[in-house]
């Protein structure tokens, strides 16, 4: 659940959190929660800012749905970190979402272009 950042409707980000997370997990092959949060913020130039704690339940739901796979790994300092990788189902789901988003944004751009009088 993103915080109330002026500039966009937080529901819009909430509805697309899964796609953002899946895209980045797919791009990295293997990554973890904190890195995902940082990267979304950095890539969006600070525009998308999550309530960070909400990313972990979202990751768990993706895992429950079989879209990603989580695995604990021990770090050199003895700490454990949970790494996420894509599943085949996740890749197919992401592709569907990306296609849908592309069609949607193209259609929006077509409708929103200035009207000729």
């Amino acid at each position: 659940m993103p915080g109330n950042i002026p500039g966009y409707d937080s529901d819009l980000l909430r509805g697309n959190t899964d796609s953002l997370l899946l895209f980045l997990i797919n791009a990295h092959g293997q990554t973890y929660g904190y890195r995902l949060i940082k990267e979304i913020e950095e890539r969006s130039g600070g525009f998308f800012r999550f309530r960070e704690g909400t990313v972990y339940p979202a990751l768990r739901k993706l895992e429950n749905d079989g879209l990603i796979h989580g695995e604990w790994k021990k770090l050199p300092n003895g700490q454990e970190r949970r790494y996420y990788t894509m599943t085949d189902g996740g890749r197919a789901f992401l592709q569907k979402k990306l296609d849908m988003w592309e069609s949607f944004s193209s259609a929006m751009a077509l409708v929103l272009k200035p009207v000729e009088r």
Binding site: Y34, R49, E52, G53, T54, P57, R60, Q79
Partner: protein, 322 residues
Amino acid sequence: MSDVSAYLDQVRTHLHLDPLTERRVISELATHFQEKLSDLRSGGLAEEEASREAIASFGQPKTIARLMYEAFGRGSWIDALIGCQPHLVVAALFATHLWRHPLLLSAAFLPITVVTLLAWRRGAANWLYSWTGYALLPLLIVTYFSVEPVARTVSFLVGGSGAPAPFWHLAGLATFFTFTLWLVVSATVRAAKRDWILVSLMLLPLPVLVVWIASVSRTDDFLAALMRGLEARLSQWDEAMAFFCATLAAATALFMRVRRRSLKAGAIMAVGIVGGALAVSSIQGGLGLFGLLAVAACFMLFLVCPFALHAYLEREGRPKEA
């Protein structure tokens, strides 16, 4: 305790998940905080300021715990199937009238008890709580039927009438009652430390079964009738009981599958209160509207009691089950 540890403790308090999952959730969040704090400190923030910033950007602990619960707390279809098994077994015993055969009854309850004991040892999955209620039932039944010698002795001591039970008999009963009480209380407290709705799930079938046992045992010459096998007088409530247990099975499956705690609580409360009152009305016959409402109110109190216990345990600050 640092601010972040205190924050994680607050999240943990509201998680209501099984101990292993809780540990994993908190461990993942703790790793997140360590990295975040390290980044903030590298950015020039002082320790205290970094903690404040990290906590603020994470969100309200109660909200995070609720979202985590919704993400983790939904059982699989297998959990739902396992969770409703004891209800279905008991429903089948009633539907087929086979509950009157001691061997079959033992064959049904022995696996329930063994599975429950093994599951308690392995760590508590949610489905375990619906099994625990039935695992305790044989002890409660034996307790119920063992009260007579005690009552006889009390009557002798107070009124001087009748003959008291032998001392060894009373000592044996006292040991058994103490053991049963200890078992019921420790199972209840252990479940309540995690989540009061699990206690309600555990206790769900007991009030109606107790009413049923009391009614059946009032049947004239109950034991003789039981020994004779098929006795119509004992079977008159079987249909209602089978239906009630089947409804409990459906509610338990729903409990396992829904994500929200409010829906889980709603499912077991609705069936426990409404279904229970209707079952008792069917057993007792002609309760009338006020009687029905009174029974429903009693069941509601009974099922909400665990909430008070959970609140008390939290107030006392007892550590959560490891």
